[in-house]
C-alpha cells in the first residue's frame, strides 16, 4: 500500500514545495486518539506534540523531586506505543517536547517502547541544553541578572528557593536532529511553536534569517500547539453547533515554500475550522500582537491574514517578521509555600448566607488554632469565583460551594488547615450538600520569568541521534 506523505519534490530545488504537518497533543494529559486520527487520515509527514506549559514544568519538577528518573511526561511511552506502529510504515516523523526537564530519561523510555515493538532501527533524537537549574550562579557571574521580566525584581528575592530553570530554545536543534535522520525527536523546553517550525525549515529550505517565513511558521505553530483550540474547542461563538467535540480533529497544515498555508483537520473528525475558530487561537496567550517573541524571530500577529477557504479550511498568509531577539526567555521555578483547601457545599435555602457565615467561623477557628496563613482566597463557587465583584450575587441559588484556600510556610500547617473545619459538618449551618473531603497539601511553585543572553545558552545545546539498537 502506498501512502501519500504530502511531500512533493520540486524539479529545480532540493526542497519540497509544500509540507503537511499535524498537531498531536495540546497539553500534558491529552488523549492520544486525535493524534491517531492525524496519523491515519491527516496525510502528514510530521506530527508535533506540545506537552509543556509553565504549570507543567512545575508539575514535572515535583515528579523529579520524588524520583530523579522522572521529570518527563509520563504518558509519552503510551503515546509512542500507540503511534509508532502507524507512523513508522508511513514514514511520519514525530517531534515532542515531552522530555520536560529530563529528555534523556524520556528517550530511554521511548527506546524501551521501540524495542518492544521490534523497531531496533528507529532513530531517536534528543535535544539537551535548555536546563539551567544548576547554572544560575554561573550565569549571574557571566553577567545575566535574571531579574524578573514582569516586575523587575532582583532574583535575590527567591534565589535560595529555586528548584528548576529552563531557557526556551528555538527550532535549530530540532532541525539538526531531523538532518541527522531522527524518526522521533525528544526535547525539553523548546518553544511550543518552534516544534512545528523545525520541519518547515528542514523541508522547505528556509533560512534562519528569513524573517517573514520564520514568522509565518511561528504563527502556524502557535495556531496548532494547543490542539483543538483552533479547530472548535473552547470556541466562544456558536459552540453548540460545532459537531462531535468528543473527537475533534486536531489541526493539520499544508505549508507552502513562501510561508502561506492552509489550516485544516483530518477528514471524518469533529470540530470546526473557520475564520471564527482560528482567530480566537491567534491571540491565545499573546501579549503585544505586533511583537510576538519567539527564540528565532519576532512575529507580527497583526500582519496575519486569515481567510475561509472551504469547508474546514482556513488560509493563513501575509505574515511579517523581524529579526530574532538578542535574549532567550528563561523561566525559573521557586518554592513558594504550601496550599491547604477547604470546600463545603451548602444547599438552598439561603445557601449564600450559610457559606458567608461558615467563612466567618473558619476565620475564627484559624485565629484560635495558631495557624499562620500567608494568603487566603475565599470563593463561593456558583456565585463569585469566576466573575468576582462584576457579577450580582444571585437571589437564592440552589447551591453554593464555599472554597477557602490558604497558603502556609510549612506543609504541616497546610495539611492541618482543612482538618480544623471538619467539625463544621455537624456544628455549622444546615443542609450541607456535596461536601468535599479535606484535600492534601499542595506545594506551590512560583514561576520567575526572565531573559538570558542567547550566547550563554546556545553553545551548550547538544543534539544526538541514535538508533535504538546502538544504545
Amino acid at each position: 500500500m502506498q501512502f501519500d506523505t504530502g511531500v512533493k519534490p520540486s524539479p529545480c530545488s532540493p526542497f519540497v514545495r509544500s509540507i503537511r504537518i499535524g498537531a498531536g497533543q495540546g497539553f500534558y494529559g491529552d488523549s492520544v486518539d486525535a493524534a491517531l486520527d492525524v496519523a491515519r487520515s491527516g496525510d502528514v509527514s510530521y506530527i508535533c506534540f506540545d506537552a509543556l506549559a509553565e504549570l507543567t514544568m512545575a508539575i514535572l519538577q515535583k515528579d523529579r523531586f520524588r524520583d530523579p528518573a522522572a521529570g518527563y511526561a509520563r504518558d509519552l511511552p503510551a503515546f509512542m506505543s500507540a503511534l509508532l506502529p502507524i507512523c513508522r510504515p508511513r514514514g511520519i516523523r514525530l517531534i515532542t517536547n515531552a522530555g520536560g526537564i529530563n529528555p534523556a530519561g524520556a528517550a530511554a523510555a521511548v527506546r524501551e517502547v521501540a524495542r518492544r515493538l521490534g523497531m531496533d532501527d528507529l532513530r531517536i533524537g534528543v535535544v539537551l541544553g535548555d536546563d539551567i537549574t544548576s547554572r544560575v550562579g554561573e550565569l549571574q557571574a557571566s553577567g545575566a541578572a535574571l531579574s524578573n521580566l514582569d516586575t523587575g525584581a532582583s532574583l535575590d528575592e527567591v534565589r535560595d528557593r529555586i528548584v528548576f530553570g529552563v531557557a526556551y530554545l528555538g527550532c535549530a536543534p530540532v532541525v539538526r536532529a531531523l538532518e541527522m535522520g531522527a524518526d522521533v525527536v525528544i526535547t525539553g523546553r523548546v518553544a511550543d511553536a518552534s516544534l512545528f517550525v523545525a520541519p518547515m525549515v528542514h523541508e522547505l529550505g528556509w533560512g534562519m534569517e528569513d524573517w517573514d517565513r520564520l514568522a509565518a511558521g511561528v504563527v502556524l505553530g502557535h495556531l496548532m500547539e494547543c490542539s483543538a483550540q483552533s479547530t472548535g474547542g473552547n470556541f466562544s461563538g456558536d459552540w453548540w453547533n460545532v459537531p462531535d467535540l468528543d473527537r475533534p480533529g486536531y489541526p493539520v497544515c499544508e505549508v507552502r515554500q513562501d510561508g502561506s498555508a492552509l489550516l485544516t483537520k483530518p477528514a471524518g473528525t469533529g470540530g470546526r475550522v473557520s475564520f471564527d475558530t482560528v482567530k480566537e487561537q491567534l491571540l491565545y496567550e499573546v501579549l503585544d500582537p505586533r511583537a510576538y517573541l519567539n527564540p528565532d524571530v519576532v512575529a507580527d500577529f497583526t500582519s496575519v491574514q486569515l481567510r475561509d477557504a472551504g469547508q474546514d479550511v482556513v488560509e493563513v498568509s501575509g505574515v511579517r517578521g523581524r529579526p530574532r531577539p538578542d535574549d532567550l526567555k528563561a523561566i525559573l521555578g521557586y518554592l513558594d509555600g504550601y496550599a491547604g483547601t477547604i470546600a463545603i457545599g451548602y444547599s438552598w435555602p439561603d445557601a449564600v448566607q450559610k457559606a458567608q457565615r461558615t467563612a466567618e467561623l473558619v476565620e475564627r477557628m484559624v485565629a484560635r488554632s495558631g495557624l499562620k496563613p500567608l494568603d487566603v482566597v475565599t470563593e463561593m463557587i456558583g456565585v463569585d469565583s469566576t466573575h468576582g465583584s462584576a457579577a450580582p450575587i444571585p437571589d437564592d441559588p440552589n447551591e453554593v460551594v464555599l472554597r477557602i484556600s490558604a497558603r502556609f510556610a510549612t506543609e504541616a500547617e497546610a495539611k492541618r488547615f482543612p482538618r480544623i473545619a471538619t467539625p463544621l459538618g455537624l456544628n455549622g449551618p444546615p443542609f450541607i450538600g456535596g461536601g468535599v473531603a479535606p484535600q492534601g497539601a499542595r506545594a506551590l511553585l512560583g514561576v520567575w520569568p526572565s531573559l538570558l543572553p542567547r550566547q550563554l545558552v546556545e553553545p551548550g545545546v547538544e543534539v544526538s541521534v541514535d538508533e535504538v539498537a546502538a544504545v
Partner: protein, 122 residues
Amino acid sequence: MSTRRVQLRDVAQARSGDKGDLANVAVFAPTGAMYAAFLRELTAQRVRAHFGRFVHGEVDRYEVPNVRALNFVLHQALDGGAARSLRSDPLGKSYGSLILRMEIEVDDAELDGVEVGRRPPR
C-alpha cells in the same frame, strides 16, 4: 441616530490565556463597524475597573485590526501565576467570559449585519 446598550456576550467572541502572573483577554468584533465601537468603548481603564479585585497591576490594550480584536494584557492578575495560585481558576480561563459581561453603547449603524444574541437551544 439612536443608540442602545448591548452586552458583549450578545455580539462578541472572547478568549483568555495565562503567562506567568499576566493574563491576556482578547475580545473579537463581528464587523468593522462593531470593531470601531469596541475601539471607542472598551478602554483599558474600563476593563481594569470591570475586573476589580482580580487585577492588581496595569491593563494594556493592543489593537489587532486584521481579526477585528482588542487584546488586553492584565498585569498581576493570576494570584502570582498558575502554579502558586490559590484560586479555583488558576489559569484565568474564565476571564474571557468575564469580559463578555461588559456593556457598551452602540448606534444602529454599528449593529448593521450583526446577529445579536445567539443562544444555544434550551
